[in-house]
Symmetry: D2
Subunit: 108 residues, 4 copies
């Protein structure tokens, strides 16, 4: 496998983990209402990262289109997480940023 | 396909829809904190219903074990939704109840 | 829910079923080698249909982008299934055609 | 996160990758018919590993039941891959064996 795809796969797996941890933590926060968009985007992002990891490893004929969608969803999730001070949000934003970058590099 | 499997498939697809609608509505409720467990279980239940629908239609060798897990998750989601008065929770609880029953009938 | 989204959801669920049945049947054909691309595309298409059904029902902020991807994958799967005379391929091609159309109508 | 869960997560991600690579390679083998069961089980196993990775990271209330199912599917996929001499089957069988073990240790 091409090294950019390998990096993209690792970034997707790390982003999947960070998004789901952020989702779980957000649901346990005192002010859940403030985290509603974050919960929603964490699920969107974890799901597309899982989907992209499957696409890369099974050599999907649509892998580039899927990576482009993944980059877009990661960027939206990053923007939302960046609004919050929770440690889990900061970690999630960072993982999303790296994953979006890795997807764009792999597509290029 | 066996008629019980056909019924189980339809019940899974309806439950997937009801759970995701309940999830979306819960995230928009005034009191999101009160709905945190419901949000979590709606996602769990929508995901296992999608998984079970895939397993039934692709003739998975593990379809019975997957249906058993689906029944269990549906029952837990039903219990949680039954605690709330929102119309989306009532509809979700009913879809979960039917899906759990259909899974158990298909496994029997 | 918007009527075009409702139609798209139903088309996705029918396409998911047709693709997985075709996948299962292809794996049991005498000449599996001839069906290799069909098996691969059936899985791709069943997976994006399941993904799109989840996105529609949970009111995903990315639903239009996901529908566009779904339309593209459905069209590719339809083209492949159209090459074969098996009844399961014909049914799958028809479900893919309808799903691609419904996705494009919902996005428009 | 508990160290056994962390190990299980890593084993699931490696197994997902190995199963999908084996699936892709099997579809390109000269004798695809001989690999039909392997193709089918690779998809089953990749999907449950992706599902289990999601369950672990989002702190699913059903994580143990999901790990038990994952262990069972991994063992069945390992048995099938063990019948073949292809390098991708050997690697897949090894990843399945490790993943089944990690799931059982995490559940214990």
């Amino acid at each position: 496998m091409n090294v950019n795809y390998e990096e993209c796969l690792q970034a997707c797996l790390e982003c999947l983990e960070a998004c789901n941890r952020c989702y779980d933590a957000c649901l346990g926060e005192e002010n859940v209402k403030m985290m509603a968009d974050c919960i929603r985007l964490d699920r969107e992002c974890a799901d597309i990262c899982a989907y992209t990891a499957q696409a890369i490893t099974r050599n999907s004929p649509f892998v580039k289109e899927i990576m482009e969608l993944c980059a877009k969803i990661c960027e939206t999730c990053e923007e939302e997480c960046d609004k919050h001070d929770h440690e889990h949000c900061k970690q999630c934003a960072e993982a999303c940023r790296k994953c979006a970058e890795a997807c764009k590099k792999a597509v290029a």
